[in-house]
């Protein structure tokens, strides 16, 4: 077998760029190829140029799977546009594949007839074998009609750096910048933001700055000269609201929202956590935030993570613990302790594919039932879910506000897709957030630990060091007033109902759910959490097609907004779309039995595609 994977020949050209509304690019390569960085740098440049965008990293669970194999492929998809971008895009217009394995893992995600940029230096028989191709990958994948750009990325990178005297490892490591340079040419984007990044990052290693700049430029010029890329494209800035922006991912936004809450409440933040994918970077960010007084405690296990936080809450701190599904399972007994002692606590569950270790790096919404009910006894907690990477900031803030003002544990649900996905965010300074007033005990009044506000049923918070308020709390059932241990049967029923009612009364403070699109009609799409972008985009397209449809997307899951039943009743059909087997549908069925719920479920560790949602809705409308 002999294949002619010859590189495209350079050739000068001069053409006006074509304007595009939006484009989706997927960078893919070995997990050591720096694809996450490449995608991030491209996103940053696009954001600085005023485009709207959304990103989706797709990386393997194994840190170093064998090089060149499909298991080790790391991808980063970014959707850039001049209109409102809500999703990272279903299918890519352009795929960068640094080796045959990357092509194998991602070919199915390229739009029909799309552009594929290959590092032809790795497309040899050795590479094919590792990726599991028997023959020419292009033929095997049926990509003959696609625009295939065969770029000698590795060899031209080496060539451009040959005079710098760098070691071979550093040279090869810069090849991702060659690919990025090509993409910058293709979209008429300047190199300067990326150059600035390297200048700042490697201040002490000028040779690295130089190398990256050289390779970036080499890629740019190569793209300018080859005939296979005949035109370049331009995406005009998006029409977005005035203000200050930055790119942010969900985990950073979560950390910052919690920090904002602590500052608003005038409390020091304590985080007790144990590293777990995909939640770890929240703990990492908090550990770096000692400048804002954060006490970060890396615990010996998940249980100690939440228990140290409960101890901190007892001591009067704004207490947080962060985890993912398996960790939440370990924390469940301690959550019950926070429920019965009525201490404020924020638990962040960054969901991933389950059960057990499941799919650590993939997204899923399958922890909902665990979050709502996964504890012994009647153990109600408030549940809030963020729906975009950037609104993790606001909902983390609200989760903390509810916890502190209602003296209860609150679980904030995000997921791997939100945690790692990023988008430009119009910065929300703390002045735009509501105040937080924890119900501290009055130092000059008698204190009964379980005396409640008659309106909200919230008890007062007396913390060690307040003279005269010494009291005991604990996991045993307590007398409704005195707070002393009580085994009285009637008292237990009173306390159980009180704890439930206290959570229910939070309804008064959460907003009604607003329907997007038509306010009544044929079909209501229902969603919660990270599926928002795909659902909203699908809704827009359905409305454009003349369908009578609306979207109710939930951020407050327990308690549910007061008007939930009313909203569900306004449409002929309801379809609940979620990345699990139908947990939210089941929850609605239990709470609002009068309606029929259709379901769209996906359990592949991946977000929905807009097409999938539209197909399901259209099928439902046909019936």
């Amino acid at each position: 077998m002999h294949l002619t994977y010859e590189a495209n020949k350079p050739m000068g050209k001069q053409q006006k760029p074509i304007e595009l509304d939006d484009v989706t690019i997927r960078f893919s390569g070995d997990s050591g190829d720096g694809m996450q960085l490449t995608g991030t740098l491209f996103s940053n440049t696009s954001a600085f140029l005023g485009n709207d965008l959304a990103t989706f990293p797709d990386y393997p669970a194994e840190i170093r799977a064998p090089q060149g194999t499909v298991g080790g492929v790391s991808g980063f998809q970014v959707h850039v546009g001049h209109k409102n971008i809500k999703t990272p895009g279903d299918y890519a217009d352009i795929l960068v594949a640094m080796n045959p394995a990357a092509l194998k893992a991602n070919a199915k995600w390229v739009k029909m007839g799309g552009t594929i940029i290959l590092d032809v230096d790795n497309f040899n028989e050795k590479g094919f074998a590792k990726a599991g191709y028997r023959d020419d990958p292009i033929k095997e994948e049926g990509l003959e009609d696609y625009n295939i750009i065969r770029a000698p990325i590795t060899s031209l990178t080496k060539e451009s750096l040959k005079d710098l005297g760098l070691d071979m490892k550093s040279v090869v490591r810069s090849k991702n910048m060659f690919a990025l340079g090509m993409i910058y040419w293709l979209f008429n984007q300047p190199l300067k933001y990326t150059e600035e990044f390297f200048t700042n990052k490697f201040r002490k290693r000028p040779e690295i700055i130089k190398a990256n700049e050289k390779v970036l430029k080499a890629g740019y010029h190569y793209a300018d000269t080859i005939e296979a890329l005949h035109t370049s494209y331009l995406i005009r800035p998006a029409e977005i609201a005035k203000g200050n922006y930055r790119n942010i991912n969900g985990n950073t936004a979560t950390a910052w929202g919690l920090l904002a809450a602590a500052e608003k409440a005038g409390l020091q933040l304590f985080i007790g956590s144990y590293p777990i994918t995909p939640a770890t970077s929240i703990l990492e960010e908090m550990a770096a935030r000692k400048d804002l007084g954060v006490i970060s405690f890396q615990a010996e296990d998940e249980i100690a993570g939440i228990c140290t936080s409960i101890g901190a809450s007892f001591a009067g701190k704004m207490a947080v613990t962060t985890t993912s599904g398996p960790g939440l399972a370990l924390k469940s007994e301690a959550i019950g302790l926070a429920v019965i002692t009525e201490l404020p606590l924020v638990i962040v569950d960054v969901q991933r594919g389950g059960p057990s270790t499941g799919l650590p790096t993939k997204t899923e919404q399958s922890d909902l039932m665990q979050v709502l009910y996964g504890r012994n006894g009647e153990s109600p907690v408030a549940v809030v879910a963020a729906s975009t990477p950037s609104n993790c900031y606001y909902y983390a803030f609200m989760a903390a506000k509810i916890a502190l003002e209602h003296m209860c544990p609150v679980i904030l649900m995000t997921d791997g897709y939100l945690a790692n996905g990023s988008e430009p965010w119009k910065i929300m300074p703390t002045g735009e957030l509501p105040g937080i007033t924890p119900p501290f005990a009055d130092p000059d009044k008698e204190y009964e630990p379980y005396e409640r506000d008659p309106e909200t049923l919230v008890r007062k918070w007396a913390i060690p060091s307040m003279p005269g308020h010494e009291h005991r709390i604990g996991g045993l059932e307590k007398d409704a007033l005195k707070g002393t241990v009580s085994y009285d049967p009637v008292n237990h029923e009173v306390m159980t109902k009180t704890r439930a009612e206290k959570i229910r009364r939070i309804t008064k403070e959460i907003p009604d759910i607003e329907i997007e699109g038509d306010q009544d009609g044929d079909v209501l799409l229902v969603g919660w959490g990270s599926t928002y972008g795909h659902l909203a985009t699908a809704l827009e397209e359905l409305l454009d097609e003349g369908k009578k449809a609306g979207l109710a997307h939930f951020h407050y899951l327990n308690p549910l907004p007061l008007n939930t039943g009313e909203v569900l009743g306004k449409f002929k059909k309801i379809i609940v779309c979620e990345l699990n087997m139908g947990q939210f549908a089941g929850y609605l069925r239990m709470n609002f039995q009068q309606f029929t719920y259709h379901q769209l479920n996906k359990i592949q560790g991946l977000p929905f595609t807009v097409t999938e949602i539209k197909d399901a809705v259209n099928k439902l409308l046909e019936v």
């Binding site: 010996e300 008698e446 010494e470």
Partner: protein
Amino acid sequence: MSETKEFVQYTPRDFKSDQEVRWCPGCGDHAILNSMQRAMSELGIRKEMYAVISGIGCSSRFPYYMNTYGFHTIHGRAAAIASGTKVSNPELSVWEITGDGDALAIGGNHLIHAVRRNVNINIILFNNQIYGLTKGQYSPTSKKGQITKTSPYGTVEDPFHPGELVIGAQGKFFARTMDNNIKLSTEIFKEAARHEGTSVIEVLQNCVIYNDGAYADINDREHREDRQLILHDGEPMIFGKNRDKGIIMDGFKLQVVTLGEKGITEDDILIHHANENNPGLHTMISNMRHPSYPVALGVIRNVQSPAYDMMVHAQIDKVKAGSKIKSVNDLLFSGNTWEVE
């Protein structure tokens, strides 16, 4: 209201809560409670600054009987919860009350890590070598071969020796006392409170119901003085009714000798240095068992080392002083931001 504000001096009574003490009559826990109330009243710490935090088990009912801030938590987790409380407010005097099941079985992981970190909490480990609250199953300190409800043919497990475990986990303070020795317990509790870092005090506690007499061989009136070595820092390890017995080092082993026999004088007896950094001798002393040796009581190890909670706050202060980010808004606008006009 706030009567404590005027208190300068306390009596043990000030630390008694209004709750009826529910341990079995004759249980060693009663005496430990007395020792604790006495120690707290003598420490000169304001009452509202005490936090008593327990896990689950007979001993863990303790906080309910103390008129201080108290938290009766969940099984095994008191060390973690107490760590969180202490790190949050290093000014507090935090006491963890736990048992052999709570601290060494279900809570073993939290115990060793609290000790390793050296969080400045005082852990009182009630060791009765049995599960009392669940009515008589063997624990991680039950003697090998012990017959209990879950070991009707005798256990086939070796027990933990708490001292060895704590010292092995980088423990800086380990002491042992006997439940009914109120004077010794009070002194030890006070010394533990003064020690900066994790202090673990093993209290040999008699469970009259499920493991009565577990310590009778070393604690009955007649033999007590011959079978207990009460350590004093800087003093020779001498014990016995007639104070004629001592401990010497023979090669790599400890040995019990009689003063005046075979030319042994007081000068040959080992001197106890609780502040010796090397854990070797402390481990050997804490592992001494009847009948070969007396059981060592008192402060076995007391080594200075910076406490975790203090270091955490020192680091925060240092980073704060050197950072440009003083508020969340500073953070939000740090790094790459851009303005859309």
